[in-house]
């Protein structure tokens, strides 16, 4: 029993770490622009595909940790720049119009990116070469793969890096200032475009790495895989309190645990009445319940009403 619980905890942690990495991109963009960035899920997909391409340029990923690392880094940069490009083309001109316009423009970009991935990468599922080391070991009877350990390590490094960037550097101060109030920040001489561009570089970059980890973990990538994962990661961001970086991490991990444990235990607890097919409902039900009691999410600050409603018409 304890072994089983430990095993599930490890699995949950792995999935949760991936959700958390994606959720960070949603939460940072939302924190600064109050924008639900629907294109973010496609950065995840594009990352998985670009990484395979980069690795094949470097001579294949099999057995070379150096190649995997280099391809991963190149993907981070490539998708980061893609994120900045999307922001410049599709969101920046809409800043200061209605709040719905950039959201739907993001939706359009999601369709565009997904279809480019489909046209270049193919409709059929791609058997994914693992970027992660193979092999297993045991802790107290639970099987842990090196894949899982690497995923957790990569996620941890990236999250700590992000936290240091935001809390310790001058760029981070600017990001926080713009998130607090873009107008006030511009009064003290901060050009909001730079921190916003940085967010649109780092967020998609993290999403792309999450894409590589996810596809390597499950061994397959499809052009349409971003949609559901993106929706769950967004749920995670809301769960933790959107706009909050620790909240996104907490929300991601929590979602991983809810899904894994609910899927494993619900059928037994309800005598098969509620089966694993309801997995997606658990996440949303928990979300609804948490929001009813903590309307700003677990770690969310109270977001000003002014910035949240869809009322500006000019």
């Amino acid at each position: 029993m304890a072994t089983l619980l430990l095993q599930q905890a490890i699995n949950a942690l792995t999935v949760g770490a991936i959700y958390a990495l994606i959720a960070l991109g949603y939460t940072m963009v939302y924190g600064v622009l109050r924008l639900i960035n629907f294109a973010h899920s496609e950065m995840f997909t594009a990352g998985a595909f670009v990484a395979v391409f980069a690795a094949s340029l470097l001579g294949g990923v099999a057995g070379h940790p150096g190649v995997a690392l280099a391809a991963g880094f190149a993907t981070f940069l490539a998708i980061g720049f893609l994120g900045v490009a999307v922001e410049t083309v599709a969101y920046r001109p809409l800043r200061g119009t209605s709040r719905l316009a950039p959201m739907l423009s993001a939706l359009g970009m999601a369709v565009v990116i997904q279809n480019v991935v489909m046209l270049v990468g193919g409709r059929r599922p791609l058997i994914y070469p693992s970027f992660l080391p193979r092999g297993v070991f045991q802790i107290a009877g639970a099987v842990v793969t090196y894949k899982q350990i690497t995923i957790l390590a990569v996620a941890l490094v990236l999250m700590v890096g992000l936290e240091l960037l935001v809390s310790r550097t001058s760029l981070g101060v600017k990001i926080r200032a713009v998130a607090e109030s873009a107008e006030t920040a511009s009064l003290v001489g901060i050009n909001p475009n730079l921190p916003i561009a940085l967010i649109f570089f780092v967020g998609p970059g993290l999403g792309a790495v999450a894409g590589i980890l996810y596809a390597s973990y499950y061994g397959v990538a499809t052009f349409s895989m971003g949609f559901i994962i993106g929706m769950k990661a967004f749920t995670a961001a809301i769960l933790g309190g959107i706009g909050s970086i620790p909240g996104a991490v907490l929300g991601g991990l929590l979602l991983g645990f809810i899904e894994t444990f609910a899927t494993a235990w619900m059928p037994a607890l309800t005598h098969g009445l509620i089966g694993t097919e309801y997995r997606d409902i658990f996440a949303f039900s928990v979300l609804v319940i948490i929001l009813l009691f903590r309307p700003a999410g677990l770690l969310g600050e109270h977001v000003s009403e002014e910035t949240m409603v869809y009322k500006r018409d000019f």
Partner: protein, 313 residues
């Protein structure tokens, strides 16, 4: 008033000359126009983002599918099911609205999104009731007072009537004291409350009204397609209806109808490009929004504006 009265007649006359396939697309335009007009009450008038509107549409569609098909061998009359479907959708709107309308802004959007997904997953998995992913086929065609609707042209007549009724309804709603209260809530909720408006109450009414229209749309959809499956009620469908409203013109019934026409016809025109179709659709979408971020027709140029202009001239 005259140009507005001429529009539906023009659509019906136009429909006489169309072959079956384009006629079906025209039907779809009208159906989406109706759904858009319904969603517009929540998004355009009340300023709340509902990302799960498809749930109400699905409730309407499955109500008809279950009550008028061989699934349980029930064959209730169309108009009766229309009332039941509308009622159930309204009930769902109220039940969802009571807890969630206290949430503000985007949290509401996410909870409605979650609700939409929950409804879809339920339809997918309650095999005994909904026949799961295979959906329900051989649904009865609609019969209204002895008039048997079978061709796309018949449905065109029905949909034109429904869109006209919905249009008149939402227009009068917008001009009513409820509409003014909704506008106040949209512009400044705290000030609205200060004026003595029961903000949660009016939002709830808006939510339920919008859900009712969605439910009616669903019943018509099920009778028109004679087949429903969870595939038709994905999150993407909710987003499409939001797109109709926002691309067309937030809070403007004319804009919504134009948006429906554009967003239904555009993918059909792009059909020739096969694999590139969706890509082109996405690019076109972004370009339209960049060009007209406030929608094709702005809020102030609505039906009341047209009437004022016409009577002045």
């Amino acid at each position: 008033m005259i140009p507005m009265a001429l529009m539906p007649i023009a659509v019906i006359v136009f429909g006489q000359f169309l072959p079956a396939y384009p006629l079906r697309i025209l039907d779809l335009v009208l159906l989406y126009a109706m759904l858009g007009l319904g969603l517009n009450i929540v998004v355009g008038y009340a300023g709340l983002l509902d990302l799960g509107y498809v749930a109400f549409y699905a409730i309407g569609a499955y109500t008809y599918a279950l009550l008028a098909s061989p699934q349980f061998d029930l064959h209730l009359p169309f108009l009766l099911v229309l009332l039941i479907g509308a009622g159930l959708a309204a009930l769902a709107g109220v039940l969802l609205g009571i807890p969630v309308l206290r949430l503000r802004g985007d949290y509401l959007a996410i909870v409605t999104l979650g609700f939409g997904e929950i409804i879809r997953v339920l339809m997918n998995n309650l095999d005994g009731l909904t026949n799961g992913p295979q959906g329900i086929a051989r649904i009865d065609e609609a019969v209204i007072f002895g008039w048997h609707l079978s061709t796309p042209l018949d449905y065109l007549y029905l949909l034109v009537v429904l869109v006209v009724l919905t249009f008149l309804f939402v227009w009068r709603l917008q001009e009513s004291s409820l509409g003014i209260a909704l506008a106040a809530v949209r512009e400044d909720q705290d000030a609205a409350r200060g004026c003595g408006i029961d903000t949660t109450g009016v939002k709830l009414v808006a939510f339920a009204t919008s859900a009712t229209i969605g439910g009616i749309g669903g019943v018509v959809f099920a009778s028109m397609q004679q087949f429903v499956s969870p595939e038709s009620f994905t999150f993407w469908e909710s987003l499409s209806i939001v797109l109709v409203v926002v691309v067309g013109g937030l809070g403007n019934p004319f804009g919504v109808i134009l948006g429906a026409a554009l967003l239904v016809v555009m993918p059909e025109l792009l059909r020739a490009y096969a694999d590139y179709r969706q890509l082109l659709y996405g690019i076109a979408l972004v370009l339209i929004i960049l060009a007209r971020p406030m929608g094709l027709i702005r809020r102030e140029y609505g039906p009341s504006w047209l009437v004022r202009r016409m009577t002045r001239a």
